[in-house]
């Protein structure tokens, strides 16, 4: 096991990683930007070090700053969390060059799965169905037009790097294609420093279902069931649950088993998530793999009782997984609500401010992962995630009942949040029927959801 881990992230995930380190009895150093000097992670940390100014490019996204901080504090490993440098194989490579361990897949594994398009071919060869897509990256507009023609409209333009909806556009006609490609290229370049794009057939009314896997250095792999992330707004997940209401028990088990078989065969290592689109008839198409811990990982922890961040650190340290597929039991139903500093009544524009009063809900089956505290000032420099409310119940209706009570109990005075949209969802018939599709909120319009929920 590592002697000392540098936590190169912020917000709730920095606190989450710190807790995992404490559980493992490993020392931890929180690397923070000037804007996060008063953050909960820094307050809770045994040791913390300022790595740069508020601007993430000069702090959380700066490989030299992060690695230098690890060296001067005597760390032997770096946990990147999610976002920022977490999926940058170049960073992982430099980390290793400095005799430090990147907590995540080893660089060569990250490299193998770096290109989404190559990964689709790799895992497609291992028996995972993939969505009809472009043959390689789009060389130019002509190539894009040809490929779109071949696949058939509508098509989805996707960046090879990154995620989170940036550089993504759905296009229904050749006329829209050229300008959309231009926009996506610049978005992708700005967000990920890589503007290579590819095309995917667009499935109307699809569900987003992802399988959580964990594979150790010795090729022992287990799946931890799936999660349904179909509740999205502009390609951004904001509610996740498990099990997925989209598939029956047998179909879920089969999907998860196919997924773990494929990634083990393809030589994946550490925790990861395989994302699938599921169409109306229940066909699951593999779209991409996330080689990091995900925001929604607690949903799986609630069902399995397995600490995924601890598993991630253990695997990176070269330890065996320590449990087998037979030890993984999925109990009950869990739902995660992303609590964002967003004004849902004004097009979800980000909000900031001083948290004058914070009361977290609690009780059986209620978990809150958050970096909030009374007196915390939400800085304007980073994403709007304030925390996650995760509820568990023996079944979906029980989980929903708990969620309604917990959301009503949550108090965040001084900062506008998106709690209203969650409350609206929990009263929405499509959601209650387990029929959400990834395009639904955008098609209906968030406003309509809120209005219906208010009724």
């Amino acid at each position: 096991m590592f002697a000392k881990i540098l936590i190169a992230n912020r917000g709730e995930i920095a606190v989450r990683i710190l807790r995992a380190c404490r559980t493992l009895g490993v020392e931890a150093v929180v690397a923070y930007s000037e804007a996060d000097r008063d953050s909960l992670a820094v307050q809770l940390a045994d040791e913390a070090i300022c790595i740069g100014p508020a601007d993430a490019k000069r702090s959380y996204l700066s490989a030299p700053a992060v690695i230098s901080a690890a060296i001067v504090t005597g760390c032997d490993a770096i946990h990147p969390g999610y976002g920022f440098l977490s999926e940058d194989e170049g960073f992982a490579e430099v980390v290793r060059a400095h005799q430090l361990t990147f907590i995540g897949p080893p660089p060569q594994v990250l490299e193998r799965f770096a290109s989404k398009e190559a990964t689709r071919r790799l895992l497609g060869a291992q028996g995972l169905a993939t969505i009809p897509g472009s043959n390689g990256m789009l060389r130019d507009d002509l190539h894009a037009l040809e490929e779109a023609e071949r696949i058939g409209y509508p098509v989805l333009i996707k960046p090879s790097a990154g995620g989170g909806g940036k550089g993504m556009r759905m296009v229904r006609t050749p006329r829209e294609l050229e300008s959309a490609v231009k926009i996506c290229r610049s978005e992708a370049r700005a967000a990920f420093g890589d503007d290579s794009l590819y095309l995917e057939k667009w499935l109307e009314d699809n569900r987003h279902v992802e399988v959580q896997v964990a594979v150790d250095r010795f090729g022992h792999g287990v799946h931890l069931g799936e999660r349904d992330c179909s509740v999205q707004r502009r390609h951004q997940k904001f509610l996740e649950e498990a099990p997925t209401p989209a598939l029956g028990e047998a179909a879920r088990a089969e999907l998860a088993e196919r997924a773990i078989k494929a990634v083990v065969a393809a030589g994946y290592e550490n925790v990861g998530t395989l994302e699938f689109l599921v169409d109306g008839s229940g066909n699951a198409y593999f779209i991409e793999i996330n080689c990091r811990i995900q925001v929604e990982h607690p949903v799986t922890e609630m069902l399995t009782g397995i600490d995924l961040v601890v598993a991630q650190i253990r695997i990176a340290a070269g330890e065996p997984l320590g449990f087998s597929q037979a030890d993984v039991t999925l109990r009950g139903h869990a739902i995660e609500f992303r609590i964002n500093a967003e004004d849902v009544e004004h097009d979800f524009r980000p909000s900031t401010g001083l948290v004058e009063r914070y009361l977290a809900p609690g009780g059986p089956g209620v978990r809150v992962d958050s970096h909030l505290f009374t007196g915390y000032e939400v800085p304007p420099f980073y994403d709007s995630l304030l925390g996650k409310l995760i509820v568990w119940g023996p079944d979906r209706p029980a989980a929903i009942a708990r969620a309604l009570a917990a959301l009503d109990e949550l108090v965040i005075d001084g900062v506008v949040t998106n709690v209203k949209i969650h409350q609206a969802l929990l009263r929405n018939e499509t959601f209650l029927a387990g029929q959400m599709t990834t395009n639904l909120v955008d098609r209906v319009g968030a406003g309509a959801f809120l209005a219906a929920g208010a009724r």
Binding site: Q43, I67, S68, V72, G375
Partner: protein, 188 residues
């Protein structure tokens, strides 16, 4: 937050001065006479609060137990001074509070996290101009310049050559050669 208009400023002044003149004496009497822990009064959009010292000493220690006490203290201090989100002072609390109380010196701070090396020629007593290179912080072998923030005379060093430093950490004092204008400006 953006800087606010002069008119708003004046309004603020008026309101707060009102608070000071009218309400503070009453507050003082009430709090002095009673056993209350704290008092707060609102005037228009403003609040004035007086708080009696509470025995937070032991408990604060508790809250910092097994943690970077200094850092926690720093965080507390930031809160106490209410400059939430304002983080333009780095380094240890001790140094931070010094600058706050002594307007005639200012510190050169680290441009990055790494290992500090002062420039050999620049020693205590050397006269420097704002922007002069007075040392460097080594980041993975690449030196980052440490420059004098103001015109002045190099004073006491807060870290030694070869020390690990964090971003924004105060490295060495620069004693100001302050003009009256500067002074009154600071005291305003």
């Amino acid at each position: 937050m953006p800087d606010r208009k002069e008119s708003a400023r004046l309004a603020d002044h008026a309101q707060i001065e009102g608070l000071a003149d009218d309400l503070l004496p009453a507050l003082i009497a009430k709090l002095g006479a009673s056993g209350l822990a704290e008092l707060e009064v609102r005037e228009g959009d403003w609040k004035v609060r007086l708080r009696r010292p509470t025995d937070g000493g032991s408990s604060t220690t508790r809250s910092a137990t097994g943690r970077a006490a200094a850092r926690a203290a720093q965080a507390h201090a930031d809160h106490a001074h209410g400059d939430h989100g304002q983080v333009d002072h780095g380094g240890s609390e001790q140094a931070g509070s010094e600058t706050a109380t002594n307007p005639y010196r200012t510190a050169a701070t680290s441009p990055a996290v790494g290992v500090y090396h002062p420039k050999a020629e620049v020693t205590s007593g050397s006269r420097v101009r704002a922007g002069d290179r007075i040392g460097s912080v080594d980041v993975l072998g690449i030196p980052q310049e440490v420059v004098a923030p103001v015109n002045g005379i190099v004073g006491a060093a807060m870290v030694e050559s070869g020390d690990a430093v964090e971003y924004g950490q105060e490295l060495v004092w620069i004693e100001l050669i302050a003009t009256t204008a500067e002074r009154s400006g600071r005291d305003a």
